[in-house]
Amino acid sequence: MNLPLDPDFVRQQQLAWSRRTFLGKSAQALGALALGSLMNPRLLAGGAAQPDSRWPGIMGSPQFPPRAKRVIHLYMAGGPSHLDLFDPKPELNRIHGQPFPSSFTSGQQLAQLQNTKLLARGSTFGFTRCGLSGQMISDLLPYTQQIADDICIIRSMHTEQINHDPAHAFMNAGSMVKGRPSMGSWLLYGLGAETENLPGYVVLMSRGPSGGEQPVSARQWSAGFLPSRFQGVQFQSTGMPVHYVGNPDGVCQSTQRQVIDEIARLNGFHEEETLDPEVQTRLAQYELAFKMQTSVPDLTDLSEEPASIREMYGVKELGDGSFASNCLVARRLAERGVRFIQLYHRGWDQHSNLDVDLKEVCHRVDQASAALITDLKQRGMLEDTLVLWGGEFGRTPMGQGTGRDHHINAFSLWMAGGGIRGGVTWGSTDELGYRYVEDGQDMHVHDLHATMLASFGIDHEKLIYRFQGRDFRLTDVHGRVAKGLFA
């Protein structure tokens, strides 16, 4: 994966661009040069020996009015059932147990239900109109019902991949092909992070009830062909998030600093010889690790969180690996300037025993999800934090024994903050919840990515990386910004 790139590819591009503009109009060029140096302080400094670990992002000025500054992605891995959570279908309940109309399914790709007799399966759970907006939310999510006016439920999601791993890849990177950067990596590449003391892209994992758990591979937060300094860093959900972050006995911080400076100097020679950008990544990692020696203990010191906050999230024991604990850590990461925070919660793959297992997994995430929104809101952070809640696909309106199979033609997720209008239900599905309706509010994963980037002020068609002779984007050649979602 680490193909030799042009040594300082980005830096050179900035230089070339500044020079060209400078010849055009001196006043404008001065601004452009300044912008260039805003993005890369070394541009004007003339290459200082000390490597600057801060990546300023390549995007410069935003193309749209920026709203969001960070993302918290509550990733419900496994495929939550939209039909039981956010998309009530009375018609499906009515034909429960009857053969599913073949006009919907003929010629369609199914996962495990292929070549079986298809029976409609209604939802056994009630829905309630919530808040002033009257959004319909399942009674399985009583806490989420209370934040109905803050969230925008998207019912018209659809994807292209029907099995977990490729579907995760599609949701993260907009492609099932290996080696593509995930959206967190794209954001870091485009904007950099606000903090130098923590990774800009952090991943935390929590588990569902036993059963219904599919593994999530580390490639989901890979930087793909982007320099690997932009990849997600998985923190441990239990105990210390990062192992071996303390100093060994007898080594103090100043000694540590000297060691790292010396290593950086030696690595600098190596970089001059080989022109390998991964040396830069290595330097940045040393620097980051050094800073994390103080920032990580501070991050996990949850003792400063009052009991009322812990109660609101439903945290039983700090750092116990629960989704609730992870949500609290996510908020603390967001406060510290981490750009992209992804909390995977495994256990949404209810092929069977749905009525019991779905209830259990909802119970595990509902309170903390709503608490995160409430907490961000009272801190004034929801306005510039984009929260995404959802999985990689939905579940079939056809029953699979006591559960539902994977479904790609329709699923629901919700977004909140980052300039997204709360209390809005966006898009719809047909009367059986089988397929999204093409009404201009339909939302492909590419559209979701384009919309997410737009909330950062980025035109998804402008965030480009050239690799192996081709220009790549998160949205490839697709993507449509759902402008109506923004307030």
Binding site: A27, Q28, L30, G31, A32, L33, A34, L35, S37, L38, P41, L44, A45, G60, S61, P62, Q63, P65, P66, E194, T195, E196, N197, R336, G337, Q378, R379, G380, E383, G457
Partner: protein, 491 residues
Amino acid sequence: MRDLPAYLGHFHPLWVHLPIGIFILLGTLEVAGLLRRIRVFSGMPALSPGLRTLILSIGAGVAVLAALLGWLLAHSGDYDPAVVRTHQWLGIASAAAALLLLAVHRVRWLYAPCLAGFLVLLTLAGHAGGKISHGNDYLTARMPLDLRRAFGVPVPVVRPPPTDTDHAIAYRDVIQPVLDERCTSCHGASKSNGGLRLDSWDALAKGGKDGPVLNLANLSASELLRRVDLPQEEKGHMPPLGKPQLADDDLTLLEWWMSAGASPDKAVAVLGAPALVGEILDTRIGGKAPERPPYRGATLVHSARIAAKLGILIRSMSPDGPWIDVNARPLGKEFGDAQLAQLAQIAPAIAWLDLGGTSVTDEGLGPVEAMHWLQRLHLDGTKISDKGLERLAHLRRIEYLNLRGTAVTDNGLLALHSMSRLRSIYVWQTAVTPEAVNALGEAVIDRRRIARWKADKEDLERRIEEEHFDGNTGGSLRLDAAQPTAAVPPK
């Protein structure tokens, strides 16, 4: 064809410049001919008698036509006959004089003085016409004071411009200018439709021939307000459809002034202005003209230097504007008043400022005071108190203010009542009460304007409803012979 005279009459202002040009050119050529007698000008061309006759003939012809068109315009009903009388007779005299000139131009001794006199007459007629179109004092309105004194032009009574909003006299400094701008062209000295003049307080208080326009007993029921608030297409709406309308801000000011008692001489501070009115007053009175946005190039140069020096994050916020987003939060307590002071140079360009968790204090807020374009301000977790908020009260563009976990109280929020664009405030973990927050909301949201928008919306919806078209090419009730002639159609 009834409109034909008026239609032709409207060509008068265009056509009238033609004879003026022709005769001035003729005069110039004649002077050139005279100058030939002096040696240095001997190369000047002379006007041949034939050419002179031709020019005079064309000139007299177009002059007569201009006078004719002028006559049609004067009687088209668009002008008050009293106002145009002088110009009318001067114009007709000019046309007659042009014919006379044509008749006598072969008599050498008579021609020169006649031409000179005619040009004077023409100038006077033209000037009288200009006064109708542009106003009596058009030429001298902008005359510098020194020139006025030198030429004996009366020096106008200049009212001292109010230095600040609080001391401005509401009627004199904002209300009358609105009336002057939009109303007095029809309700003024030269034209007073309905017997109503709105060019002075006395006239305003007196009303028109149909009664008073100010109902001093119940100001909100005043005819003046009713007329301007009527839907545009309603009969009686003022200004009439097609004329420049009162702006939203004009209406807000007018309503505020009326509700405050329609006083002719009270100062703004005495009347008390809510946030939105205060903002409009500031821009109108000019004491605090909207601050000019800074330059992008210079801002980015300074930003780069400051960001590198302080280790803070500065981001450009738009592809072409100078606005920047400054984030000092990552520095935490290391960022204090001394560091904040270094932002002074880029202060006017800062749109978003995050000072959350830093060690800035009330005393160090000086640079923030100069951030006139600030929209978002994070002060959460700082030592800012009510005193600091008072220093920020004039930042009227702020939309988002985060004060979580600070020492601010209800008193501090009172200072924010002037932030008319404030839409979110965060005061969790402070001593601020919900009542104070609600009061702030009431102060910054202008309910009356919302009510007006609602009325406008209803009006628009009604108009959308009304925009339908029924095409009817005839119908028939003929029953088909095959169908049973049942009184009730079968279901």
